[in-house]
């Protein structure tokens, strides 16, 4: 199946790209890695009149050191995240999440920024972005602005990026030396998460000093498991302590019910997976 006809533009500068987004085309879609957009076009679930391909913009891919943070270009692929030393050292969680996304083909084409802006509640990166307190750099007609991850994901498939804006980079504070794990539950290897838990933790002599837990597919957006974090901070990193805290993973959530599991099952899974993720992250 092929998509409905559309105009295609591959700008070579941000200015040109932004101008295209502000054009009077009926419906404009931004193409990054295309791993969600292209299937949607082929299924004709969307029929934009103009597709703006970010693939030829300079400086949108790659990871660099930015002092207290690493700066990840929006067009960096999932596969690059798994192999980039800066990510492995300072944001291990992201590398681990990237390894679980779909299959190798998708990981070689799909982009970090694309996945974040697509904001699929079952997508894996938003929970990690929340758990790492990432900051999104968004460029629009009036220049760049920064939005923290906690304010970035606004609803189902909806983010703070408006139609005339582009996400250009993600700033991830360095979590050097933190333990981390992404525990994902899905029906078959390449499928979306039914529930996923992204956990990262800083230990000091066996005590949990800081801990952040992001949940995938437990709401219309990724969310933080705040109750778990609160209960665990200052506690010894021991399995029974973690298990007790993980019991609060579903507190206050109202996850979706779908063909892969009802809300009750998701809440149950959130507890199981949070326990597993934290035990692995703590190495206990």
């Amino acid at each position: 199946m092929i998509p409905a006809a559309f105009d295609y533009l591959a700008p070579t500068s941000i200015e040109e790209a932004l101008a295209a987004l502000s054009s009077d085309a009926d419906e404009v879609k931004v193409l990054a890695g295309g791993q969600s957009l292209i299937p949607v076009l082929r299924l004709r679930l969307a029929a934009p009149t103009l597709v703006v391909d970010l693939g030829r913009l300079p400086d949108l891919a790659g990871v660099r050191d930015d002092g207290g943070a690493i700066l990840i270009g929006a067009m960096t692929t999932h596969d690059e995240l798994t192999r980039e030393p800066l990510v492995s050292e300072h944001a291990t969680l992201l590398a681990k999440v990237a390894q679980t996304v779909a299959d190798p083909q998708v990981r070689h084409r799909g982009t970090f920024g694309g996945a974040l802006v697509h904001a699929d509640p079952a997508g894996d990166f938003p929970a990690a972005a929340l758990a790492l307190d990432a900051e999104m750099t968004i460029v629009g007609p009036s220049g760049p602005r920064t939005v923290p991850a906690a304010e970035f994901f606004t609803d189902l498939f909806t983010t703070a990026v408006s139609e005339d804006e582009i996400l250009t980079a993600v700033r991830v504070p360095k979590h050097t030396g933190w333990g981390s794990h992404y525990e994902k539950f899905h029906r078959s290897a390449q499928m979306w998460s039914i529930v996923g838990v992204a956990a990262t933790v800083r230990l000091d002599g066996g005590t949990v000093v800081e801990v952040k837990v992001g949940l995938t597919n437990m709401a219309s957006t990724a969310i933080r498991a705040a109750a778990v974090e609160q209960q665990l901070v200052g506690q010894p990193a021991a399995p029974e302590v973690i298990a007790s805290a993980a019991e609060r993973a579903a507190d206050g959530t109202s996850p979706p019910t779908d063909v892969n599991g009802d809300a009750d099952y998701r809440q149950h899974l959130a507890k199981v997976l949070t326990r597993r993720a934290l035990i692995t992250a703590c190495g206990c």
Binding site: M1, I2, A4, R44, F185, R187, S188, A189, M191, E240, A243, A246, E247, V259, G261, D262, D264, Y265, H268, L269, K271, V272, R275
Partner: protein
């Protein structure tokens, strides 16, 4: 693998004769047929569940470059017979289910056809619809008969009294989901219509992916108003069927109508995977109340099996869900019934082991529950209730070696290791064993003809049979070779064409018994007439032989299915670690292809137990998980150690060949064997298939205490 005595060519492994061509890609399936000036069809489908097409605007589609024709109810050629509403395609403005054909676009390419179809605008007058199977039988229909001609209801003795007086009783409701046939090759059809000079000499050539070329011709001829001999159906290779290709469906009529609008150009149509979930049949969901009454020793005194299932409002298909219950176990008091809800849904049809698969899922789960209530081993319970004669017909068995299947399987599988429910643990996994009986009728269908011809030093065997991937190309060649007393290479088989002699459909696991017997009869006729040294061009024909004794017997295949399931204590994930089927299916012609049929059937049953479930949206009449991303069928990772073996009992009471059919019986006992293993592993009984992790966790939470980290399910 069971070693069979070497009594001739059959019984010896033979590589698939069609295997090389399929691997090389030179075996041409229906859609791949090389035809001149092909056009491509994309259908228009109703987007409401019930109502009428008020207005349909095709102007934008017709204006598109590359569009050859647009078909709607307004311009469709009239069909000669519209009694069967499944085939009355585009003959009126009525919409009877969501996804029903309301037209089609034919174009130079598939892409143009599809795009043009998207330009057709349709307005409807919607009517209220009902698409969900109700769980009580009030107001439901009692069909005259159920599929394959069985009575809807049966009764013997006083089942009410037996239930009232039971020392041990099971009274539970089991449900099985709507499932969809998903052969690897979708349904495809290529139609070439020749108008002729008028007056009834039009003709149709149809390349079709079907389980029976002659059944397609016989069914379509009156619908299209053509004499059967004016229709030729060709189908040499088929990529799976599972029953959905046993009869033509609406797409065959649609493509034949469209082919009348193209000036003789061929029209090609391949259904998409998503369209397959609407238009080619499916297994009805069932709700089965099963009551088993037994004495303190576990001897059944009463069996009662009441089924609720669905059909389409426009065409009746009543799955024979309770028929196996009629013959499976001895009990003096018995009752079965089927009630039908007529809904605004697509038309259910045959799906591998229609009736037996869902019905035995219910019955064999109930038997497992009865065994527990009688404190009996499940195998011992079945042994105690083994009937000497068919309790339904009163006839003797042509051959029934179910107990031997259980004994053989129990030893091989290590059944003695089975413990109490929830007792065995392997890390975070709870492990258990389950068993179930399997059965399937041994049909021999009469009405086929085979022809033997001696051409260029080889014997050409002609029969309009089908090979849907089951191995017929090979097995019929083996049977012919043995009867002729030549090597398999000395035989050239022709099948899959209505120009060949009439053959019955590849259905009901009847192919080998029916066609094989016919081929042997044709060889006998050939030798009688032409002797051992025939002249070039010598031919002879024979029809399926009458097997005089057969009517004296109840003819069924049997099997015992064993399963080992592991259930994750925290997540409810289920892994079937081992499965073994031991089958009493008569003579095996070709062990490798036979094993594939049996093992494939078991995988089908495992899938029914754990995975397959077509989810109907009550608001729209739409199956929401209508693709392989959401409708999970087993992949290699789901299947571990799985084996099938067979007993050495040729059943010449059933037919002269002694073969009882192997295509469906693997599917029959497997759902319950897996479900019973899950119960033995976890202590949680799920009576609503498929057994998914969320059901296991929810049920364990409501029956037991325990949080995830406590390690108890």
């Amino acid at each position: 693998m069971t070693d069979l005595p070497a009594s001739g060519i059959h019984g010896h492994p033979h590589r698939r004769i069609d295997g090389r061509a399929k691997v090389l890609g030179t075996a041409t399936y229906a859609f791949e047929q090389d035809v001149d000036a092909a056009t491509y069809l994309y259908p228009l489908q109703a987007t409401i569940a019930r109502g009428r097409v008020r207005r349909i605007d095709t102007s934008a589609a017709e204006a598109l470059d590359g569009v050859v024709a647009v078909l709607t109810h307004l311009n469709a050629p009239r069909l000669a017979d519209t009694d069967d509403k499944e085939y009355a395609v585009c003959q009126s403005d009525e919409v009877a289910f969501r996804g029903q054909f309301i037209g089609a676009v034919v174009a130079e390419t598939q892409e143009v056809a599809r795009h043009a179809a998207s330009l057709v605008s349709v307005e409807y007058d919607e009517q209220p619809h009902q698409v969900v199977l109700p769980d009580d039988d009030k107001g439901l229909d009692d069909p005259d008969e159920v599929n394959a001609g069985y009575p809807s209801d049966t009764a013997q003795g006083d089942v009410g009294a037996a239930l009232a007086d039971a020392e041990r009783l099971v009274d539970e409701t089991y449900s099985t989901p709507m499932e969809h046939n998903n052969p690897m090759e979708p349904h495809t059809s290529v139609a070439i219509w020749s108008a002729g000079s008028g007056d009834g000499d039009a003709s149709l050539l149809l390349y079709d992916s079907t389980q029976g070329v002659h059944s397609v011709r016989r069914t379509l001829a009156p619908v299209l108003g053509l004499k059967p001999e004016r229709i030729r159906v060709v189908s040499p290779y088929v990529g799976g069927g599972f029953g959905s290709k046993g009869l033509p469906h609406a797409h065959n009529v649609l493509v034949a109508l469209a082919a009348q609008l193209t000036g003789g150009r061929p029209v090609k149509f391949a259904l998409t995977r998503q369209q397959m979930f609407t238009l080619v049949g499916y297994r009805t969901p069932t709700i089965q109340r099963i009551r088993l009454a037994a004495d303190g020793d576990g001897r059944l005194t009463g069996i009662c099996h009441d089924v609720i299932e669905q059909t389409s409002r426009i065409k009746e298909f009543a799955e024979q869900t309770a028929t196996a219950t009629r013959m499976m176990y001895a009990a003096p008091n018995r009752r079965t019934s089927h009630r039908l809800a007529r809904l605004d849904v697509p038309i259910p049809s045959w799906m591998r082991a229609p009736g037996e698969a869902p019905g035995m899922a219910g019955l064999e789960m109930a038997m497992d529950e009865l065994a527990e209530r009688c404190s009996l081993d499940p195998i011992e319970l079945r042994v105690r209730n083994e009937p000497d004669i068919d309790p339904d017909s009163g006839k003797r068995w042509s051959g029934r070696h179910l107990v031997e299947c259980f004994r053989t399987g129990a030893e091989r599988f290590g059944w003695a290791d089975r413990g109490e429910p929830g007792a065995r643990r392997d890390g975070d996994w709870l492990v258990g064993l389950g068993v179930a009986s399997s059965t399937y009728p041994a049909f021999t269908m009469r009405g086929s003809t085979a022809e033997i011809a001696y051409v260029d030093g080889r014997y050409v065997v002609r029969i309009g049979a089908s090979d849907i991937g089951t191995g017929t190309w090979t097995t019929l060649s083996q049977i012919a070779a043995e009867a002729l007393g030549v090597e398999v290479e000395g035989v050239r088989l022709e099948l899959g064409d209505t120009d060949l002699p009439m053959a019955t459909v590849e259905g009901g696991s009847s192919g080998m018994a029916s066609w094989g017997s016919t081929v042997v009869a044709a060889v006998d006729a050939f030798r009688d007439r032409h002797g051992k040294d025939p002249e070039e061009g010598a031919t002879a024909r024979a029809e399926t032989p009458e097997h005089a004794d057969r009517k004296k017997y109840a003819t069924h295949s049997f099997g015992a299915i064993f399963a080992e399931a592991a259930v994750h204590a925290d997540t409810g994930e289920v892994r079937v670690r081992r499965m073994l089927g031991v089958f009493d299916v008569g003579r095996i012609v070709n062990p490798p292809t036979a094993r594939s049929q049996l093992v494939g059937g078991m995988i089908f049953g495992l899938s029914m137990a754990l995975f397959e479930h077509s989810v109907m949206d009550a608001r729209t009449g739409h199956v929401v998980n209508h693709d392989f991303a959401e409708y999970h069928i087993p992949v290699n990772a789901d299947i571990a150690d799985l084996d099938a073996i067979w007993l050495d009992h040729e059943d010449t009471n059933a037919n002269s060949l002694g073969a009882k059919g192997i295509g469906e019986i693997g599917t029959v006992g497997s759902p319950a064997a897996v479900a019973n293993a899950v119960y033995n592993a976890s202590g949680v009984r799920i009576r609503d298939l498929p057994i998914t992790p969320d059901k296991l966790i929810a049920q364990s939470g409501s029956t037991k205490t325990g949080s995830p980290q406590s390690g108890h399910m």
